[in-house]
């Protein structure tokens, strides 16, 4: 039967170094990708219209995808057909990084002029534009928000456990949980939008859950280290895998329906939670094991 069981990983077979090596290597690769992309393009991840200025239009038209690509004075970054039940001829057209405010404003009238109308429906079904200076403002706000959220989470981790190693283990794995999906976005060319920022913030909250669970079981409960670990893993993996499944379904469905906000939240959280599985049960665990057997002096 397709029952889902949490496997009992035999941690005893591996040293702390071996356990930590995998997540650290992945983190290193992620950081490498982000800095490489920063050097080449100027930003670690591609910026969407929310952060770079530009426009996103949802159009309903009988024109073909190729015709849509030709219809604008600025070449769109992407034209994506919407595949939802009962919906035809809808496309999402994205433009990011347009410097000229007037050019942004004109896009929707170009769509109305160049594209063929589908029955009585309005051609431009959705229009979202941001001028470059508004976008720069948003970018700053989002960075500050992420910074404050991460700092707040770190402070709280220290307040909860009041010891250095377990707290820093939480902070380190949360950091890695953020960097890996960012690198994924860079590779998969998913632009940073308000939705992905929301997902990253949510990830700070979600990823800490399993870390706190693990730390609590190991540090605050009596009993054998491996026994506590197994229990925490059983609960924690259930949690994370359940959330991952929900996010994957939401990400896929929302991508098909063209609901950008929900799609990016779903996909980024899925990747981030996968990274969290690795970080919690390899990185955090190895740090805790080291702390429990070598780090505590009494």
């Amino acid at each position: 039967m397709g029952y889902f069981d949490v496997p009992d990983i035999s941690y005893t077979r591996y040293t702390n170094r071996q356990l930590a090596a995998v997540p650290l290597a992945v983190l290193a690769v992620a950081l490498l990708i982000l800095s490489g992309s920063f050097l080449v393009t100027g930003t670690p991840v591609p910026l969407g219209m929310d952060f770079a200025g530009g426009a996103e239009l949802t159009v309903q038209t009988t024109s073909s995808q190729a015709e849509i690509e030709e219809a604008f004075s600025v070449e769109p970054d992407s034209v994506q057909g919407i595949q939802a039940p009962g919906v035809e001829n809808q496309y999402t057209v994205q433009f990011a990084g347009i410097e000229d405010q007037d050019a942004i404003q004109e896009l929707s009238s170009q769509a109305e002029a160049e594209l063929a109308q589908d029955g009585d429906n309005e051609i431009v079904q959705q229009e979202s534009t941001a001028s470059p200076s508004f976008a720069a403002q948003t970018q700053q706000t989002a960075l500050l928000g992420l910074g404050v959220a991460f700092a707040g989470m770190s402070v709280l981790a220290f307040l909860l456990f009041r010891t250095f190693v377990p707290s820093i283990a939480i902070v380190a794995s949360a950091f890695s949980d953020l960097m890996i999906p960012l690198a994924f976005m860079s590779v998969a060319d998913i632009p940073l939008s308000l939705g992905t920022v929301a997902a990253l913030l949510m990830l700070i909250g979600y990823s800490v859950d399993s870390d706190i669970l693990l730390n609590t079981h190991i540090l605050r409960r009596g009993g054998d280290f491996y026994e506590s670990t197994y229990r925490a893993t059983k609960t924690g993996v259930t949690m994370t895998v359940t959330s991952m499944a929900a996010m994957l379904v939401m990400g896929i469905a929302a991508t098909l329906f063209g609901v950008e906000l929900l799609a990016s939240i779903g996909i980024i959280l899925f990747v981030g939670l996968a990274a969290d599985l690795m970080n919690t049960y390899l990185l955090n665990l190895s740090l805790l094991r080291w702390y429990k057997f070598h780090g505590v002096r009494s």
Partner: protein, 549 residues
């Protein structure tokens, strides 16, 4: 089960609390009018409409523009200001006129405000082509301490309040209900004016916002030397006490707005009406100038200011553009000449088209926008109602799919419907309570809120898994005491996890990041309701189900 009601309440207070919340949520959601049938925020028109649509709608949930269609435009006011200017009170208007003349500005484009409570003055200019240095130099003539460094970008709170009020009036005049105008602060301390109107296209809304709406009436007449000159005779909202609706004169076939000129007398016994009447008499409008205006070609909509004959025209100016030029009528002219007009100071402002008349009425009614909006720094979001309806369906579908996935996973993991079923039901009741809450406070729901609901289900199930594993740990739950102790352990973890989620989300809840505020607010509320109400109740249910043999 004990027959003692006190014992029952003591043991199951968590479940009872949950049941109470669910009941409240259901009432707030489904009973028309909800718990608070308070429509005081909405206008009369809106109320009627709301009552009508309540009958059609299944729930009391309100939708934002993302799920209902409409447009939102955010843009900052244009302008800069110098605060804390040291002025003598008689210099107030002197500084104002210096700003007009030395910076070459229209009177609407500069203002000096006196804040009486703190006795300080603030000077503002509402254009972007004046340099900060020039602006500061003019003020420095009055207050030598002012330098270029004191010039701040942006306008005062008073100006923004006036703008918000003006825009609100315009939105209401446009006959659309449910519009919202508010300001949002950025990290840097500058402000954006955000206007949300359901059922308006971005072009319409931008047009409504980009008109300054500064209405003036100019007298165009030959002076003593026979040269045509302009004189402003009526200006802005101050000079008009009542503005009627745009009308059409059937007999003579013209569009007009009936207006009443303000006849409140000042200390000298003068009013806008008497001054207007005196000016008309002085400039000859009521004598040789009657019916003497032929510069407008109404068919072509053109004006000809190059003419041989002397002309006596009343020019209706909006934002410095001539909208209409008409002559003084016979009856009005003789009424003014006799001085009777000032006792009943009404006249008709004629416009070329019906649309002009409507626009003029709106501009006169709402007043001029104190500062224009800077559309170079704008953000627009707009959804057609048809697509918004699709989004509603999609959201519901995506929500259901997510819940089904979560349920499926939980059933696969526990294989015991006694554990899994209440888990799924509890997680869904969290969403129900949140929806009820949103309906109660009339929070307009958007896609970002939907994302929040899904996130709440996610964290909710996480916590329920923690509770279930902890409570079922090490075999049977033999007594209330064992249960309570295990439950407390679990609660420590979910409490800590909830605290981090709230901390991570709180910057979003207070910062102005557009759509994301709704997401953050719903997530935080969901976590709070979850930790305080629903998740403890699940523990209770689980205990009952596991100990009930």
């Amino acid at each position: 089960m004990s027959a003692n009601p006190v014992g029952f309440v003591k043991e199951y207070w968590r479940v009872l609390l949950l049941a109470m919340f669910i009941a409240f949520a259901l009432v707030a959601l489904f009973i028309p009018g909800g718990i608070m049938a308070d429509d005081s925020l909405a206008g009369d028109l809106e109320e009627d409409e709301a009552n009508q649509s309540v009958e059609e709608r299944m729930t009391n949930i309100e939708y934002g523009i993302g799920l209902d269609g409409g447009t939102r435009v955010s843009a900052p006011p244009t302008g800069m200001m110098v605060d804390n200017i040291d002025l003598e009170s008689e210099q107030h208007s002197e500084l104002e006129s210096s700003l007009y003349t030395e910076l070459d500005l229209e009177t609407a484009d500069a203002t000096v405000r006196h804040h009486e409570d703190e006795d300080r003055y603030t000077a503002e200019v509402f254009v972007d082509d004046v340099s900060a240095a020039d602006f500061a130099a003019v003020i420095a003539e009055y207050d030598a301490d002012v330098s270029e460094d004191d010039v701040e970008n942006g306008v005062t709170q008073d100006t923004r309040d006036e703008m918000i009020r003006t825009i609100e009036l315009r939105v209401n005049e446009a006959g659309l209900s449910g519009g919202q105008v508010y300001q949002e602060a950025t990290v840097e301390g500058s402000y954006y004016i955000v206007t949300e109107v359901p059922g308006m296209s971005p072009e319409e809304l931008r047009e409504l916002l980009s008109d300054r709406g500064d209405v003036q009436v100019w007298a165009y007449y030959p002076d003593e030397d026979g040269n045509q000159t302009n004189e402003t005779v009526l200006e802005g909202e101050d000079d008009f006490s009542r503005v009627g609706v745009a009308s059409y004169n059937d007999e003579q076939g013209y569009n007009y707005v009936p207006v009443t000129v303000d006849d409140t007398e000042d200390a000298d016994g003068n009013s806008a009406a008497t001054e207007y009447q005196a000016a008309m008499n002085e400039y000859g409008f009521t004598s040789e100038g009657i019916q003497q205006c032929g510069i407008q070609d109404r068919e072509a909509g053109e004006f000809d200011f190059d003419h041989d004959q002397p002309q006596w025209c009343l020019l209706t100016m909006v934002d410095g553009e001539v909208v209409d030029a008409h002559s003084m009528g016979d009856r009005l002219g003789s009424n003014m000449a006799s001085g009777e007009w000032a006792n009943d100071p009404t006249f008709e402002m004629i416009t070329p088209t019906q649309q002009d008349a409507h626009q003029l009425a709106v501009n006169l009614e709402s007043g001029a926008l104190t500062a224009p909006l800077d559309f170079d720094r704008q953000q627009t979001f707009s959804v057609e109602p048809a697509l918004a309806d699709q989004f509603k369906t999609y959201s519901l579908l995506i929500g259901i799919l997510s819940v089904l996935t979560v349920s499926g996973m939980v059933f696969l993991r526990y294989r015991n419907p006694r554990v899994a079923a209440p888990m799924v039901i509890t997680a869904m009741s969290e969403v129900l309570i949140l929806l009820g809450f949103a309906a109660l406070i009339r929070m307009p729901l958007d896609l970002s809120h939907v994302a929040g609901f899904i996130a709440v289900v996610g964290t909710g199930v996480d916590d329920l898994v923690i509770i279930a594993d902890e409570v079922m740990d090490d075999g049977e739950v033999s007594s209330q005491r064992v249960f309570e102790s295990r439950f407390r352990k679990a609660f420590w973890v979910i409490g800590a996890a909830a605290a981090t989620t709230i901390i991570a989300m709180s910057p979003l809840a207070v910062m102005s990041l557009g759509d994301l505020r709704g997401f953050a607010i719903i997530t935080i509320l969901g976590v709070l309701i979850g930790v305080l109400v629903t998740r403890p109740a699940y523990g209770n249910i689980l205990q009952r189900l596991l100990t009930d043999k």
